[in-house]
Amino acid sequence: MKVLRQLFASCLVLGALAAAPAAHAADATASAAAKPPAKDLVLKGDAKCTSCHDEADEPKVLHIGKTKHGTLADGRTPSCTNCHGESDLHTYNPQKLKDRPATDRNFSKTSRLTAEEKSTACTACHQGGKHMNWNTSAHANRDVGCTSCHQVHVAKDKVRDKRAQAEVCYTCHKQQRAETSKPSHHPIPEGKMTCSDCHNAHGSAGPKMLVKDTTNATCYTCHAEKRGPFVHNHQPVVEDCGNCHNPHGTTAEAMLKARQPFLCQQCHADAAHPGNVPGIRANMPNAVSSNIGPGYAQARGCANCHTNVHGSNSPSNATSSGPFRFFR
């Protein structure tokens, strides 16, 4: 009997042990049925995405919380699906595909969407103010989308950092990268200026997507002393600073497109002294070089005499070397 009682007891224990998983499973099923909806972690309604995606993904989705898009207290901020679409095929993968379908609006490099289609996610909200002319910009019409330059899910978007922005622009603008390294340049490599100081990458009413309506107006935001008008104006200066300067950088001083006198001789080289041959002192016989020769090529070139080449405001009637020719 003792053996029978022990056998019975053992069966009870084994039975209980065997039944336990089933009971646990039944509890789990009941629990699942009663499970509250997944909790949003960052954005309104983001649980649809964050129940699967987290910081292990690239981009790190939760980091959007660090951005203005992730500032929930601003009622205008979007949810994941505002930008990425409802993406039910991606979420539920009803066909159980091995490679889950992409979101409705996918921003990755392998996206099947055009840049324009991707950008509609942004332009739905960002179409006023500085973004007003995005639709007419060279970027928008050359397959450049917002996410070609901007990182939306990071606290610090590289293209919005003055020191790092140029690197983003250089992704396409190789010539500008080469020119900003030349000895005469704006302080872009040094991080004291950046591309957006002069250009609005989102489009503008001006030429070359400049921030102002003309080239000169853009330059005058920093170089207003060249604006004049002067008593004696220099025609190409008034017409366009870009006639003489390459603002991205050159090897000639003052970002001139060519060294003096060659630059000046592109307009003045057929009469009197402007067309004279430039020389340097080391190669010039002193007897014939004391007045003009090296003064063309060396030091400030033509500006050795024509001091006020951007325009002179001198009212002088001096008859020799007067302000008429920008001497003073």
């Binding site: 007003m132 017409e239 067309g275 007897a287 014939v288 060396q298 050795n304 001497f327």
Partner: protein
């Protein structure tokens, strides 16, 4: 500074948090940390610079060797929709900048920023001129050239300018979509800029001043520029509007530079002193810009701007002037600018763009007689020359999707400019262009484009084509080709090729620009060696060539009327041309990774640039004295210009070690070598003995230790 999370959650962590209620509280904390922008970090930087070199110093703001301590700061706090930020960089250096802002996102914002931008001259100056930086330059008394070069009063001068910029900005939403904005930017610029003035060769003891007739006269800069902008923006889904006011007011604290000549450095009789400095001026603009969405595929844009510029700064005094010019120029310039555009995706595959831009600049400055000259009984009058012009720019572009990610884009750009003041009243340019691109390929994307532009104009003034046509008015054909190829060779390797070339032909001009061409080729590569190690490298080759023609004086046998010092301009003219060539190579390399717990990185830039100025059609020999009794080959005697070369090799290394979760130590090393072989200032001595020069090779090394702490 960068903010690093000390926790990287995974699905597992969140799953655990969900499965075990006891764990949920810390999971929430961690999620909060991952989604919070709140940051409080400070860095103390102790860079040691071994020596000050002008080429490296130009914009970096460091003018003392040794340790130049500085600090960075970043503080961000967000509570609900309110953001408070403080940023500062390079505090303690001349490049320091800082900003503070407070905003309620979607409601109001206010910010105050300060920025300091120095620029040091890349040259070294040794001079005996006094008063540098002031409006009165006094030339030294020097008997002759030898005395000028050995003047015991020579001293070193550092020329630099500095901008201090303060910007206050504020905005407020009055209602959803309606926003007011206001910005005021105050900029003070001061310092001294390299400049000079024409004098005359001295007539003192032998040897006379053989260097030049040019006097060192650095320009003092002391000005204030205020810019204000006020906007009203109204944005709806259907249309957007901005109405604004922009004002720019420049105030210069001096309008004349007086140069007092010394012995043997006299200015010409009629006086080249004082020199006019930049006058005060202002511009005020009103504008309205808007856009309207006719549908989700069609959008139109319009901007209309009107501005008026004024310049009525008092004329400098101390000069002979004609009666009736008044006390100032009383200049007034009115500009009208219009920009309109429409874009429409007319079918699924076809998008059209049309735009028109118009500028009308009317210089309404009264015209007065400022000077007269008489030569050979002929009197020439010099009036002030107001410059007015109008311009139109039109663009028509079509983009068609060919399928498989390919796009075909074609278009025309039209430009027309006209001015009664120009030697040619009307100039037009038509550019035709076509491009094919692929943008959605899995591994290969790119673009290839061609454009052809023709610029022509009206008859030249008086119906006679002058022998030289100003470069911006001359007839010109220009062809451009651009190509870019983006290859995702593997998941970890991307390679990009870019090529661009232009070919210009200026025609119908005997002198001036003739032909030009340039090319640039780049290859970029980025390789993810692992999750931690990233490598990128690039190489760029750029070259260009421009040919231009001139006629001028060459002192040579049979042409020795040109040899007399002051008749260079009146002797027989020879025809010559210049072929200007430039060639540059750049190589860059970047490597970032981690060794154990130390983040490390390296950057390398190798840059070489060569410019050639090839002058041709020179006579074989030239005179070496005024009487032309001796001659020498042109190449050595006439001053054929040598090549100029510039080299920069920069290596930057860093390592950053996390001492604790909140504290990091960073070590930086910079090696920077620059060579400048340039004739511009080579052996140059002003008549007053001033030397401006470049040390041909400059090597700078910086070792920096930084302590970064997150609070």
């Amino acid at each position: 500074m960068s903010t690093q999370s000390i926790f990287r959650p995974t699905i597992l962590a969140i799953a655990l948090a969900a499965a075990f209620p006891a764990a949920s509280s810390w999971a929430d904390d961690e999620i909060s940390e991952l989604t919070s922008p709140n940051t409080a970090e400070a860095a103390i930087n102790l860079p040691y610079t071994d020596k000050i070199n002008p080429l490296y110093r130009q914009y970096d703001g460091v003018n003392n060797a040794g340790i130049n301590a500085n600090a960075d700061l970043e503080y961000v706090r967000r509570k609900d929709a309110e953001w408070f930020r403080i940023n500062a960089r390079n505090l303690g250096l001349r490049t320091q900048e800082m900003g503070i802002s407070y905003e309620k996102q979607g409601d109001w914002a206010i910010s105050l920023d300060y920025d300091q931008i120095p620029r040091y001259s890349p040259y070294q100056v040794s001079t005996a001129v006094s008063g540098v930086g002031s409006t009165r330059i006094v030339q030294p008394n020097i008997a002759n050239t030898a005395a000028a070069a050995n003047n015991a009063n020579l001293y070193d001068v550092t020329l630099k300018t500095e901008r201090e910029i303060t910007t206050l900005a504020a905005s407020k939403f009055l209602m959803p979509g309606l926003k007011l904005g206001f910005t005021v930017k105050n900029e003070d610029k001061s310092g001294t800029r390299l400049s000079g003035v024409r004098g005359v060769t001295g007539s003192g003891a032998t040897p006379a001043n053989i260097y030049s007739a040019f006097l060192f006269a650095p320009e003092p800069i002391n000005q204030n520029h205020k810019q204000l902008e006020a906007t009203v923006e109204y944005t709806t889904e259907k249309y957007q509007l901005v109405a604004g006011y922009y004002g720019s007011f420049l105030g210069t604290k001096q309008n004349a530079l007086t140069v007092v000549p010394g012995t043997n450095t006299a200015l010409v009789t009629a006086s080249l002193s004082p020199i006019a400095l930049a006058p005060d001026n202002s511009v005020q603009q009103f504008y309205v810009t808007g856009a309207y969405n006719f549908s989700k595929d069609t959008r139109a844009n319009l901007k209309v701007a009107w501005s008026e510029g004024r310049q009525d700064d008092a004329f400098l005094v101390g000069q002979p002037t004609l009666a009736g010019i008044g006390g100032n120029l009383n200049a007034k310039v009115q500009n009208t600018e219009v920009y309109s555009a429409i874009t429409s995706r007319v079918t699924r595959d076809l998008k059209l763009l049309a735009s028109w831009r118009y500028e009308d600049r009317q210089d309404k400055t009264p015209v007065r007689l400022f000077g007269t000259t008489t030569s050979s009984g002929v009197t020439t009058n010099y009036y002030n020359n107001p410059e007015s012009h109008t311009a139109n720019w039109g663009k028509l572009e079509a983009n068609y999707r060919l399928g498989a990610g390919f796009n075909l884009t074609g278009g025309f750009d039209y430009t027309n400019k006209s001015s009664k003041e120009w030697e040619r009243h009307d100039v037009s340019e038509l550019t035709s262009r076509i491009a094919v691109s692929r943008s959605m390929g899995e591994s290969l994307n790119g673009t290839l484009s061609f454009s052809h532009a023709e610029r022509k104009g009206s008859e030249w003034n008086h119906g006679t084509t002058p022998p030289i046509l100003p470069v911006y008015l001359a007839d010109r054909n220009r062809d451009r080709v651009r190509g870019m190829l983006d290859l995702a060779a593997t998941e970890n390797l991307n390679i990009q090729f870019a090529y661009e070339a232009y070919f210009e032909d200026y025609n119908k001009s005997t002198y001036g620009l003739d032909k030009g061409q340039g090319q640039i080729f780049s290859v970029d590569g980025s390789y993810a060696i692992s999750d931690v190690w990233k490598l990128n490298a690039w190489y760029t080759k750029q070259n260009g060539e421009t040919r231009q023609y001139a006629q001028g004086a060459v002192c040579t046998t049979g042409n020795n009327s040109n040899c007399t010092v002051n008749t260079f301009r009146t002797g027989t003219l020879v025809q010559w041309d210049a072929n200007l060539k430039q060639d540059s190579d750049q190589f860059g390399l970047g490597l970032n990774g981690r060794i154990s717990r130390v983040d490390v990185g390296a950057q390398l830039l190798i840059y070489q640039d060569v410019n050639k100025q090839e002058l041709s059609k020179m006579p074989a020999t030239t005179c070496t004295n005024a009487a032309c009794t001796t001659t020498a080959p042109v190449a050595s005697a006439m001053g054929i210009l040598p090549d100029t070369k510039y080299t920069q090799n920069t290596l930057k290394l860093f390592g950053m070690y996390p001492v604790s979760k909140a504290t990091r130590v960073r070590l930086d090393y910079i090696y920077d070598m620059r060579k400048m072989d340039d004739y511009t200032w080579s052996n140059w001595v002003y008549a007053d003995g001033t030397r401006v020069y470049v040390k041909p090779e400059q090597t700078t090394q910086v070792i920096g230790l930084s302590l970064l702490h997150a609070f």
